[in-house]
């Protein structure tokens, strides 16, 4: 035994196997079902958007880090995840230059001006989307989707006039628990286009089921915190029940919950650790607040799907939530409080 080579350092001498890159790549893998459904429905257009977005995200990450003379960390997988997520929230018809521009703004303004991963206060994916939504609203228009139809026509018109549920799924009436379960099952498998219209939606949010599979997997593996999705989805249900159309309340809640970007936001975007609170309680507060802001945006705002913007707004509340939910240390006595 070579004694002079013994290393002396502080404990702990062992460490866990989890790393940031493992976290990022597994989260990326959990998005594959959602992306695959997108590719199935939209074909080559979806592939184009995904490839352009991922490649440009990795490229901008490396480029900006080189420009700012920082360590290049494209291996940690966070750029790949950002790129894929960004592609999944864009319509498949997005032109290539717009995708690249969005990724660039997200990477620069959302991440690297703050100092890179861990320092940003706002979610880069949402920053990129917000920039595109404000600059090129027509390219990001999804008012032809179910959520859009509900917004413009109202849920009553959708259910009665479009005969959406009855024609698509062969359900005569929405009365009775059996019919409701049938609709629910059909809905979570995948929304289909409104009869006579083409499918209008974003690449990654066609199938609720695909997103839920990925999300549950991540929660089971503990790569994402269950508190944000649970808080957010519960809050969507509660606030859509309070504010939403009382007639056909059940389909209305279902539309709010399962269509649009609700699930993708709940499991993959709002759970970004960097821009969300630290404590368990803080995360529940964050989720509920995000749900409230989203429902306000959907009901009284002008956009069909404001959730990405709402995430940015809620990110702004994160420091406040962190301050209010600061935990009480173990065994604190009054004097030292």
């Amino acid at each position: 035994m070579k004694e002079e080579r013994l290393i002396v350092s502080l404990h702990p001498h062992i460490q866990g196997v989890e790393t940031v890159s493992k976290m990022m790549f597994i989260t990326t893998a959990a998005l594959i079902p959602a992306a695959a459904v997108g590719v199935y429905f939209f074909g080559i257009n979806a592939i184009k958007v995904i490839v352009i977005s991922v490649l440009s995200a990795v490229g901008f990450e490396a480029g900006l880090q080189k420009l700012m003379k920082r360590e290049i960390t494209i291996n940690d997988g966070s750029a790949v995840l950002t790129g894929l997520l960004f592609a999944l929230i864009l319509p498949p018809t997005s032109p290539w230059w717009m995708v690249i521009l969005g990724v660039f703004v997200g990477m620069l303004v959302g991440k690297h001006v703050y100092g890179g991963l861990g320092s940003n206060s706002f979610n880069p994916v949402c920053v990129g989307w917000a920039a595109l939504k404000l600059s090129f609203p027509s390219y990001l228009d999804i008012s032809g989707s179910i959520l859009g139809a509900v917004k413009s026509e109202g849920i009553t018109a959708l259910v009665e006039d479009y005969s959406y549920f009855s024609e698509q799924y062969g359900i005569e009436s929405l009365e009775g628990i059996g019919a409701k379960i049938k609709v629910l099952l059909k809905v979570i498998l995948a929304w289909k286009p409104i009869p006579g219209a083409t499918l209008v939606d974003c690449v990654g949010q066609v199938s609720a089921l695909a997103i839920i599979i990925g999300g549950i997997f991540l929660i089971w593996k503990r790569y994402i915190n269950w508190r944000i999705p649970v808080g957010f989805l519960a809050s969507i249900i509660i606030f859509s029940a309070i504010f939403g159309s009382k007639e056909y309340l059940y389909p209305y809640i279902l539309v709010q919950l399962l269509t649009g970007s609700t699930l993708l936001a709940a499991f993959f975007v709002a759970t970004d650790p960097v821009t969300t609170p630290l404590t368990g309680l803080g995360n529940i507060v964050f989720g509920v607040l995000l749900g409230l802001i989203t429902m306000i945006g959907r009901l009284w705002g002008s956009w069909v799907e404001p959730v990405w913007f709402c995430i940015l707004v809620t990110n702004g509340f994160t420091p406040l939530i962190d301050r209010l939910t600061k935990p009480k240390p173990f065994g604190r006595v009054k004097e030292s409080a």
């Binding site: 290393i7 702990p12 001498h13 062992i14 940031v20 960097v274 609170p277 368990g280 240390p329």
Partner: protein
């Protein structure tokens, strides 16, 4: 039977190395021992032997000046070869030490013999026997039992928890002691009741070993109440342990368990108390676990003063290139710079690490995942405290509870970024102390 748990901590499932589960073996007495004269919290003992003097096992070589120190005894028979004034201990501080060359005869000063009348003795008499034996609450903070017992009187303690949980993952000495000496433990608890005057005693174990649970629950029935706790690290530390067993919080950051009327004794200390009163046997050895990158991991009964290199050799040497030799366990142990360091009352185990298993650190930024917050048993925000310490904002770090930290290392273990949180927090604590002075 009671059950319970505490907030935070690490499930044993996250640790990737298996636990040593071999019966306790005795290590043959070494040819030379180096016995530090400070193996406890408190002041150093005064050497009462000279160079060249013949000593026998159990002979006092370090005299204490009060109940805050524990007597130090010779652990082999032979000749004192040196009384060293500046000997580096496991923390790298200098203490006095005595080296004894064994004559191979292994003769006792007074041979320990089993008595049966020990439970008839009064508390005062028992206490003096315990003091004479130099019993401490074994572990990195080895508090002399005499000092703990006097605290029980001063603070009118009404509950004692006997801790049967090994301090760290991979250490299994306590577990083996419980399995092999369940009856003795029950006897020992009776002595503890008598000497402390406390009648409410809990025996704490974890729920992951049914053999252990069956053995001990039948042995101690009627003597102490069994508390079976959810297996988690750092359950063996006082604060989480008392929370898990009694649902009570020790005042923090500066309180001690005795403040809320609770005292905690390790199972090995309790057995040493029994040896002291039943046989008059002083502490000359202790059971330690040798684990990690070693060819045959073992639970060994080792004479105090045995150089750890002898122990490693007995376990057929390290497997592969040795990078770290750690006294204690891998989560909270102290890395040593030399294998000449002797086993002392503060040594609970030896953990060997090879180059490939070393923990890495990174200079990446915190991603605020909150995992450290989830595992912190003190309910702190370790990442926030650490980042304040990193930029020398110690007052702000303390506002977030810097001084509450118990150094368990769960945060640094779980961190996916590999931020050296314990390093920054300990740095912050030492700087805060300096600022306050």
């Amino acid at each position: 039977m009671k059950t319970g748990t505490f907030k935070g901590g690490l499930d044993y499932g996250v640790f990737s190395v298996n636990e040593v589960n071999t019966p306790i073996e005795e290590l043959p007495p070494p040819s030379e021992v180096t016995i530090p004269l400070k193996q406890h919290k408190g002041k150093e003992c005064k050497a009462v032997v000279k160079k060249g003097q013949e000593v026998k096992i159990g002979q006092v070589i370090g005299e204490s000046s009060g109940p805050e120190e524990a007597l130090v005894h010779a652990t082999v028979s032979g000749k004192v070869t040196q009384v060293i004034k500046r000997f580096p201990d496991i923390r790298g501080r200098y203490v006095s030490a005595v080296t004894i060359e064994s004559d191979g005869k292994d003769e006792w000063a007074t041979l320990p013999e089993g008595k049966t009348d020990y439970l008839q003795k009064g508390p005062e008499e028992l206490l003096s026997l315990i003091e004479k034996a130099g019993v401490v609450d074994f572990g990195i903070e080895a508090v002399p039992i005499s000092s703990k017992l006097s605290l029980i009187k001063d603070k009118s303690v009404n509950t004692i928890i006997v801790n049967g949980i090994d301090t760290e993952p991979f250490l299994s000495a306590y577990k083996r002691l419980i399995i092999e000496k369940a009856q003795d433990i029950a006897e020992a608890i009776k002595v503890l009741k008598k000497v402390s005057g406390v009648s409410s005693i809990y025996f704490a174990i974890e729920d992951r070993n049914t053999e252990l649970k069956d053995k001990i629950s039948s042995a101690i029935s009627g003597v102490a109440e069994l508390a079976v706790l959810k297996a988690k690290f750092p359950q063996a530390m006082d604060r989480p342990l008392i929370k898990a067993v009694l649902e009570r919080e020790v005042p923090s950051p500066y309180g001690i368990p005795e403040d809320i009327g609770v005292s905690v004794f390790g199972v090995e200390a309790v057995l040493a108390i029994l040896d002291a009163v039943r046989k008059g046997k002083p502490v000359i050895d202790r059971v330690i676990t040798i684990a990690g990158a070693i060819n045959s991991p073992k639970n060994l009964k080792v004479r105090i003063g045995t150089p750890i290199k002898d122990v490693i050799e007995h376990c057929q040497g390290a497997s592969g290139e040795v990078a770290k030799v750690i006294i204690g366990g891998p989560m909270m142990g102290l890395a040593q710079y030399s294998v000449e360091v002797p086993v002392s009352k503060e040594t609970s185990g030896i953990f060997i690490q090879s180059e490939s298993e070393l923990a890495t650190i990174s200079n990446q930024k915190c991603i605020s995942c909150g995992w450290c917050v989830d595992v912190c048993p003190m309910n702190l925000l370790p990442n926030i405290i650490s980042s304040f310490c990193e930029v020398n904002m110690f007052k702000e770090a303390n506002d977030y509870g810097l001084s509450y930290c118990i150094d368990c290392g769960c945060c640094a273990y779980i961190c996916p970024v590999k931020i050296p949180l314990v390093h920054w927090i300990k740095y912050g604590k030492s700087q805060l102390e300096k600022e306050e002075k």
